[in-house]
C-alpha cells in the first residue's frame, strides 16, 4: 500500500492578497494511480495544479517529484513539462488553426530545443506513434482536419491525446468531462483509466457520477486543504464532506 509516492506536496500554502487559496496542503500520489479531486468552487483545485506545474510559486511548503525526489519549486513551466508532468486545462485549448496531426506532432515527446525543432524531419516512427495515439483517443479519422472544426468533445480528446503524446509520468486533468454527452463521457473514462495503468493521473471533476465511474481514490479539497480522502463511498458518507460540499 505505502509505495513510494511519485509526486508529493507537503505543507504547501499560498495566498493572493491575503486570501489563503491553499492552506497547509499535503498530497501524495503513486506512480500508477488514478486519483480524483473534488471540492466546491474556490477550494483550491486549480491553484493546486498551478503550483505543481510551476505557474504559481507557493509561499511555503515543498513540492517533490520523482525518484530520487526533486523539488519542482525552482523550475519553469516548460522545464516541469519536460520532466514528465502534463496538464490539461478546463477549457479545451488546442491550436485551432492547425491540423489535428500538427497538434499531435507538436506534443509528441521529442527534443524541444529550437534548433532540433527547426531541422526536424518527420520520421516513420513518429508518424506511427501519432496514428496509435489518435486511435487511442478516437481521432484517427480526423488527423487531416483543422482542429478548430472538431466538436467540443473531440477537442477534449485531442487535448488528452496530446498529453499522452508528451508521455508524462503525471497527468493533471481539469474537468475532462465538462460539456460532454453521456457517450463521450464513457469514452473519456476509458481513456483515463487506461492511461492510469502506467502513470499517475489526477482528475479534477465536479460531476460525482463521472468520479464514481472512475472507481478510484478521491481527495476532497475544502478551503485550500484536504478535508477527506478515500474511496468514493467513504468520502460521500463523511460527515464533514456532506456538510461543506454534498449537503449544500
Amino acid at each position: 500500500m505505502q509505495e513510494a509516492s511519485l509526486l508529493e506536496l507537503e505543507g504547501v500554502s499560498v495566498s493572493f492578497d491575503g486570501f489563503k487559496a491553499i492552506n497547509n496542503l499535503s498530497f501524495q500520489i503513486g506512480s500508477a494511480e488514478l486519483r480524483a479531486i473534488i471540492g466546491p468552487n474556490g477550494a483550491g483545485k486549480t491553484t493546486m495544479m498551478d503550483i505543481i506545474t510551476g505557474k504559481t510559486k507557493p509561499d511555503n511548503g515543498s513540492v517533490l517529484y520523482g525518484t530520487p525526489a526533486k523539488s519542482l519549486l525552482r523550475l519553469s513551466e516548460s522545464q516541469i513539462a519536460r520532466i514528465g508532468i502534463g496538464r490539461k486545462f478546463q477549457r479545451p485549448t488546442v491550436f485551432e488553426n492547425q491540423s489535428v496531426f500538427d497538434n499531435f506532432l507538436m506534443a509528441l515527446k521529442k527534443s524541444r530545443s529550437p534548433l532540433d525543432v527547426l531541422f526536424y524531419r518527420l520520421e516513420n516512427t513518429d508518424l506511427e506513434r501519432v496514428k496509435v495515439l489518435a486511435e487511442e483517443v478516437g481521432l484517427h479519422e480526423q488527423l487531416e482536419r483543422t482542429s478548430g472544426e472538431l466538436s467540443h468533445g473531440q477537442k477534449q480528446w485531442l487535448e488528452i491525446g496530446m498529453l499522452l503524446a508528451q508521455d508524462p509520468k503525471v497527468l493533471l486533468v481539469d474537468e475532462p468531462a465538462a460539456g460532454m454527452t453521456p457517450q463521450e463521457r464513457m469514452h473519456t473514462t476509458n481513456i483515463l483509466k487506461k492511461a492510469a495503468q502506467t502513470r499517475a493521473v489526477v482528475v479534477v471533476e465536479h460531476d460525482m457520477e463521472f468520479v464514481r465511474r472512475l472507481e478510484c481514490r478521491v481527495t476532497v479539497l475544502h478551503e485550500g486543504s484536504v478535508l477527506a480522502e478515500g474511496s468514493i463511498d467513504h468520502v460521500t458518507n463523511d460527515e464533514s464532506v456532506i456538510d461543506v460540499y454534498l449537503g449544500r
Binding site: 522545464q79 507538436m106 524541444r112 525543432v117 527547426l118
Partner: protein, 397 residues
C-alpha cells in the same frame, strides 16, 4: 518517388516558385528596359524606386514573421533597418572620402602620411558637426568586410539584448509594442545628437557613390542594386517559408495563438520568441543595408517611431500570416505612395482650395487602411487566397 515530391519544400510551398518567377521576370524585364543595360524606356530613378521597394518588401517579410506568425507586434523593426543602413553607410562614406582626400593630395610636394590622410578624412566627414576627430565607432570603417559583418552583428546584438530582457520578463501584447517604440525612439534621439559619432541630424550622405567605382554611372549601379535587392528578397522569401512550413513554424504559430499552452507542452517559449526576433532583426538590417546605398542618404529621422508603424500598416494591408501578403502590402503601398508623392499626378485646383496629393496621400492611405480592415480583414493577400480557392473549387466541380 511521388511521396518524396509531396514532402518536398516546393510542393508544400507552391507560392515560392510563383514568387521567384515573378521576381525574376520583373528584374530581368526592368534590366532590359533600363537606361544602363537596355533600351532606356525606364528611367534610372524608377529603377531605384523599384530597388528600394524590394528592400521594403524584404523588411515586410521580417515583420510578417515576427508579428503575423509569432504574434509579437514589434513597432521597432525599422531601428534594425536603419542600423543596417548606418553600418554599410559608414564604409561607403569613409572609403569614398578617403579616395577623394588621397586624390586631392596627389599633387602635394611630399606624399601624405597616413595620419595626415586620417585627419583630412576626419575633418571632411565631421566638419558639419564641428569636429575632426574620427570617433571610436568608425575604427573599422575602412574595411568593407567588417562593416558588412557589423550590418548583421550590431542589429542582431541589439535585438538579442532587447528581446532577452523583454521576453524573459514576459512582457507581451501592447506593452511590448510600446517598449519597441521606445527603443526605436531612443535610438533615433541618440543619433540626432551631434556627438553620437554618426553626424547627428545630417546623417550619412553620398551613399549612392560606391568607392572605387566612381567611373561607373548611376544608370548601371542602380541596376546592380536592383539585382542585389531582388536576390536578397528571393532568399528572404525562401528562408521565411522554410522557417514557417515545418514543425518550427507550427510551434511559432502556436505561440502566437496560446503562449501558455505551448509552455505546458514543454517548449521554452522565450527562446523561440527571441530567436524569431533576432532573425527578423537581421533580415531587416540586411534590407536596410541594401536600401540606403540606393536612397543615397540616411539620417536619424528614418528610424523615427512612425516608420515602424508604417511597416505594420503595410503588413496589415497585405494580410499578415501569409508571406506573400507582406510583400504585396509593402510593394503596393510604397509604389502608390511614390506615385502620389512623386509629383507625377498634377494637383487639382478647385479655385478656393488646391488638392495637393502629397498631403492627401496620407488621408487616402488612412481610408484605405480602414476599408481593408473592415471589408477584407485578411488583407490584399486574403483576396488573392479567395481567388485561388474559387478556382480550385471550380476545377474540382
Amino acid at each position: 518517388m511521388k511521396t518524396a515530391f509531396k514532402n518536398s519544400f516546393i510542393y508544400k510551398n507552391p507560392s515560392v516558385l510563383i514568387f521567384l518567377s515573378a521576381l525574376a521576370i520583373l528584374t530581368i524585364g526592368m534590366t532590359i528596359l533600363s537606361e544602363g543595360f537596355g533600351v532606356g524606356l525606364v528611367s534610372t530613378s524608377f529603377i531605384k524606386i523599384l530597388g528600394k521597394t524590394l528592400c521594403f518588401c524584404l523588411i515586410a517579410i521580417a515583420m510578417d514573421l515576427v508579428w503575423g506568425y509569432c504574434g509579437i507586434l514589434s513597432l521597432g523593426h525599422f531601428a534594425f533597418f536603419g542600423l543596417g543602413g548606418y553600418m554599410v553607410g559608414m564604409w561607403l562614406m569613409f572609403a569614398r572620402t578617403k579616395d577623394i582626400v588621397i586624390n586631392s593630395m596627389v599633387n602635394a610636394p611630399l606624399p601624405p602620411t597616413p595620419n595626415e590622410i586620417r585627419d583630412a578624412v576626419g575633418s571632411q566627414i565631421f566638419g558639419v558637426v564641428g569636429g575632426s576627430e574620427i570617433p571610436m565607432i568608425w575604427m573599422f570603417a575602412d574595411s568593407l568586410l567588417i562593416q558588412l559583418l557589423l550590418v548583421i552583428l550590431v542589429p542582431g546584438l541589439l535585438a538579442f539584448v532587447f528581446g532577452y530582457l523583454a521576453f524573459r520578463s514576459r512582457v507581451t501584447g501592447v506593452y511590448l509594442s510600446i517598449l519597441t517604440q521606445a527603443m526605436t525612439l531612443a535610438l533615433s534621439l541618440y543619433l540626432f545628437q551631434n556627438d553620437s559619432g554618426l553626424r547627428g541630424n545630417n546623417g550619412l550622405s553620398g551613399l549612392q557613390n560606391i568607392p572605387g567605382l566612381t567611373e561607373v554611372s548611376q544608370d548601371i549601379i542602380s541596376v546592380w542594386f536592383l539585382w542585389a535587392s531582388a536576390i536578397a528578397l528571393g532568399l528572404g522569401y525562401i528562408i521565411a517559408n522554410w522557417l514557417i512550413s515545418g514543425k518550427f513554424g507550427s510551434v511559432v504559430r502556436a505561440i502566437r495563438d496560446d503562449e501558455t499552452r505551448v509552455r505546458y507542452l514543454g517548449y521554452t517559449v522565450e527562446i523561440y520568441k527571441l530567436l524569431v526576433f533576432v532573425i527578423t532583426a537581421i533580415i531587416a538590417a540586411i534590407a536596410g543595408a541594401l536600401y540606403y546605398p540606393q536612397a543615397g542618404i540616411i539620417n536619424p529621422a528614418e528610424i523615427a517611431p512612425i516608420a515602424s508603424i508604417y511597416l505594420a500598416v503595410w503588413v496589415a494591408i497585405g494580410g499578415r500570416g501569409r508571406i506573400y501578403g507582406a510583400v504585396i502590402g509593402a510593394a503596393s503601398v510604397t509604389l502608390i505612395s511614390s506615385w502620389f508623392t512623386g509629383g507625377q499626378i498634377p494637383n487639382i485646383s478647385l479655385g478656393f482650395y488646391t488638392i495637393k496629393w502629397i498631403d492627401w496621400w496620407l488621408v487616402i492611405l488612412g481610408f484605405g487602411f480602414v476599408a481593408i480592415t473592415l471589408y477584407a480583414p485578411s488583407g490584399l493577400g486574403g483576396l488573392f487566397d479567395r481567388l485561388v480557392r474559387k478556382q480550385v473549387n471550380e476545377e474540382s466541380k
